[in-house]
Symmetry: C2
């Protein structure tokens, strides 16, 4: 407020001397030129576009006081080194997904997606109104990072397979590009999980170096051309049912911002969060239709016994990780409690409503 | 930018004369003292709280340049006259729900909720990324109003009934407080729909003047004490599967705002939209448990044949309204097309995922 009072005083024509120009007024008028590095390729739709839109909005809302220069993955920092870069203060901000840092911070995975975990609406409820964001801040605190939810893909697809999956036995021995907890769950089913960057996936799948891959959803998968290398496209994306994207800010830089600029960033991340999810929800179907109609992709549901087995493996994987890492266990317990409540509420809200749209008998879902 | 350059110049100590205080600098520094009237009771959780939070955030983000004074329903303008008050410019902003204006603008109902229509995630996708908000602006344009989505309750509950609903026949002759399209659908089932303000509902239900009522969801219904007057609490809220709340702004006032303040408002409405939904998603279950455990409320699902019949009535009601009103028909067609696509996407995403969480066979939902 001090700066405003100062300017108002000027506007009223009561300027009497130089003393008014020192101190709070000049400090509050400070401009910030920040750098934001992402983990995404340049022009990556929704993700990179959304981050650039966010930076532009913040600059305009702050009337140019907070100028954020956005760099795609590799333009300034290698895509998966943004955590360190922001932690060390090389740059002020990063955009990516918390589970990329699972090697350093296993518990971070809960703030992106958990196999058979919360969907997008559930994640937002947990983070904003159920204590999740507070936990996330605690988990990132030792790294000098302040995280914000900023984006969500909605339920992803289950992945591209060169051969159909008719039973659990068909998974055994497959090489599949699937990172994180999803990969660990698949490993329990006999899959050999492989890590590959986005740009390497198509060639590996096309040459048969891998038998299967997951990526994002129809809108992004279409662009990556995966339909040219595999024709069986499975749903649902049980391994990533509502992945949250994150904005991380170097905590010292964050604390050095005036409160109004902090609030501008915070508000803009929430708006971006909702916008990205809405884009996916509105764009995925058209891409799925193109895949089916133009490229003759078979869109198939995982058999229910395969899903049931994966769900049990998921519990085992979480238990194993929890036994190894105290922070993981603490976050897992909080997440699990929220998820149980959320499922109970969904049973009388979203799930019951979805059922009311179909001509089936009560009790089937 | 001009204002900033002006202030920066001052800060650098280059102030030489009075001329710097005239023109663009002074104009850009203009302060706005606006009034916002809501349709909600004072201290109404989430809704009124959320609007007050929004106003506070905008004031802080704009560093006091845009000061919005919030009035609950009746404090300045009667709750359901805010549309006129904002349209005429008596106040600059209003918060409520578009379907309150159905008498004046039948098509407005699509921008809140439609029986068996889109859920919260679907509404956001339609409004932000599927052309819905553009249509909404066209529909409000003749009234000099600029609307924004700002809030969502998620799937509501189906309502409180003094007697159980076991078949369609049990609805016949009931007096039920249920407004809008939901009331018209219920009328097709032989219900006598009644309009009552929130404050009148409990007494009417308690005295048997009405046999049933819908309100919001567990979090709000608990506070209204409805469990003391009826013990059968039905789900799902087929009549309001994801009701959007709205911020309306007098278009002349809106156009008179500098671009950075417009963007601040727009961004804050999206953040509020997400926050309100998250609050409901996180708070409803605890209230539902209290209703069940402490007040012995029976939480029941509408029979599937009742829902199937209501779903058919809903189509008839929309067709009848569309035949009477060209704007309604145009919005209905756009909404229906989006909903069909959204349902197709949900079939491989949210719905399939929800099914994967249960131990049931594929094909049942």
């Amino acid at each position: 407020m001090k700066r405003r009072q100062f300017v108002k005083t000027l506007g009223a024509g009561t300027l009497l001397g130089g003393s008014a120009f020192s101190g709070a007024g000049a400090a509050a008028e400070q401009r910030f030129n920040w750098k934001l590095v992402t983990t995404w390729p340049p022009n990556f739709p929704v993700f990179q576009d959304g981050v650039e839109r966010f930076a532009k909005d913040v600059r305009r809302m702050s009337d140019g006081r907070l100028n954020i220069q956005v760099f795609a993955g590799g333009e300034l920092v290698p895509p998966l080194q943004s955590f360190e870069a922001v932690s060390q203060g090389t740059v002020e901000m990063g955009h990516g997904a918390a589970y990329y840092w699972a090697g350093k911070v296993p518990a971070a995975q809960f703030f992106t997606a958990v196999p058979f975990g919360l969907n997008a609406q559930g994640m937002n409820a947990w983070l904003y109104s159920g204590g999740g964001l507070k936990l996330w801040r605690e988990v990132y605190e030792p790294f000098g990072l302040t995280p914000f939810p900023m984006g969500n893909t909605g339920v992803q697809m289950g992945g591209w397979f060169r051969k159909p999956i008719k039973s659990l036995a068909d998974l055994k021995g497959l090489k599949m590009r699937i990172p994180g907890l999803g990969g660990k769950v698949m490993a329990k089913a006999g899959v050999n999980p492989v890590l590959l960057a986005g740009g390497e996936i198509f060639t590996a799948l096309d040459r048969g170096t891998i038998d299967a891959t997951e990526w994002v959803g129809p809108y992004h998968d279409l662009r990556l051309g995966l339909y040219r290398a595999a024709k069986h496209y499975y749903y649902p994306g049980w391994h990533e049912p509502g992945p949250v994207l994150e904005l991380i800010i170097n905590s010292k830089a964050w604390e050095g911002l005036p409160r109004e600029l902090q609030l501008t960033i915070e508000t803009a991340t929430a708006a971006s969060n909702l916008w990205m999810l809405s884009e996916f929800e509105a764009r995925n179907l058209e891409a799925l239709r193109t895949l089916q109609e133009k490229y003759h992709v078979e869109v198939l549901e995982f058999p229910s016994d395969v899903l049931a087995a994966l769900r049990e493996f998921a519990d085992v994987v979480l238990d194993e990780q929890a036994a190894k890492d105290e922070v993981f266990r603490r976050v897992r317990d909080a997440y699990r409690a929220f998820q149980a409540d959320n499922a109970a509420w969904n049973a009388v809200s979203e799930t019951a409503y979805a059922r009311s749209l179909r001509k089936i008998k009560v009790g089937m879902l």
